[in-house]
Symmetry: C2
Subunit: 242 residues, 2 copies
């Protein structure tokens, strides 16, 4: 009885690891959020799928465990990495009721990495990853983390930078960043990474403050050393003079 928790990367076959592909191919059932199932079904057309809506994370994990308990090999799929804001944590939290099921986490390329590759090399030194979604983390804790990341001069990657209910969260985050980072700090965004309609751009922190982004966008805020070279966002690491 086996449950794979698979990060499939951005959503195209090229960005998937061989391990993710093997897990999916060896599974009797693939479980995931509707949007992700559509992406994976387009690649692996012959498999059996079961999907649940966005906010039904707990139901989705229990469905996956129950089907594994019934003897199926199951892959629970997540975009990006299954561990970074993915389902791996909840799987372990709910695993105690299913002691016979072997769990295997299959890591994938999270949006911080696939988005960075589109923009250039923004994360080549220390960085922090922060989600602006306060559905699962209180906003005051998110604010504290934004403040500390800015104070430490980290390059910062923002996941879930906006949604209908939280249209001003990116603006609020930028205002916190501006307490420590220069208004001309190099920033970038990538929308629909590795998917149809991919868009990206570079801008300053003060421009980012006034930008409207959607929930399919990943935002990158440079550290004090980040610069633009040939249209790319680059955080150097001091190798140049080695």
């Amino acid at each position: 009885m086996k449950l794979y928790v698979v990060g499939f990367g951005a959503g195209n076959r090229d960005g998937m690891t061989a391990a993710a592909e093997k897990a999916i191919l060896s599974s009797d059932l693939i479980v995931g959020y509707t949007t992700y199932i559509k992406l994976i079904k387009a690649i692996f057309t012959e498999k059996e799928y079961a999907s649940t809506e966005m906010t039904r994370e707990r139901d989705r994990v229990i469905l996956a465990f129950d089907e594994a308990q019934n003897g199926k090999t199951v892959s629970l799929i997540c975009s990006g990495d299954s561990g970074v804001y993915g389902m791996a944590g909840l799987v372990y939290e709910l695993s105690e009721k299913y002691p016979q099921i072997e769990i295997e986490i299959v890591a994938g390329v999270t949006a911080a990495l696939s988005g960075a590759a589109v923009l250039g090399s923004p994360l080549t030194n220390d960085f922090a990853v922060i989600s602006l979604s306060d559905l699962l983390t209180p906003w005051n804790k998110i604010e504290k983390r934004l403040e500390c990341a800015a104070m430490g001069d980290f390059a910062v990657v923002l996941y879930n930078p906006s949604s209908k209910k939280r249209s001003d969260y990116l603006l609020k985050a930028c205002d916190i960043m501006l307490k420590y980072k220069d208004e001309n700090t190099v920033c970038g965004y990538v929308k629909n990474i590795g998917r149809q309609g991919q868009e990206s751009g570079l801008l300053t922190l003060s421009e980012l403050r006034n930008m409207t982004v959607d929930m399919f966008t990943t935002v990158f805020i440079g550290c004090s050393e980040t610069k633009i070279i040939g249209g790319k966002m680059v955080t150097p690491r001091g190798y140049k003079d080695v």
Copy 2:
């Protein structure tokens, strides 16, 4: 004229993306640090390789550019992700002399993600990635980042936690963490991720302080919510009661 900057993941074929494999297979020459060339040569035995020593990063990048300039398709390879403490930054820094060469960054699964999958799910909420190597970043800046990451209650991943010359850096880093994090904070380490001799373990922050690790080890320090479930290191994200 094309230069791929390829992150090949932990070092086994399963952890590699299809894009990384394609880039390597389509290249006339693979350039990298000796240890990495050995790993990749074992997988793709028929390719042409050129290697340089660990600290010769600049030479390695120039070699890759020069060979691409001569008309070869070249892959410059890095373990993990090519953007996270990898060669992508230096490639852009040196790219201005080679305007005709098309650069493509191929993202990979960095040790934070592949190591997390071994330990469980330590990075399922906000996290910071910090290298303890002061070869390229001044130590006082590293200390500041450690302090800010601990103050923000981030889960923290430490790269390059030790070396012969820096045997007490992990201890120093833990002492900074202990100013803000409880001594019983759940921590973990993974050595030789995805390679022969992989080892991992969980321990408390005060135990980690007194541990000796090598440069092939990646260290994980939990946030205040990180716990152990069934022998795994798990950072919950609040889904459980959704």
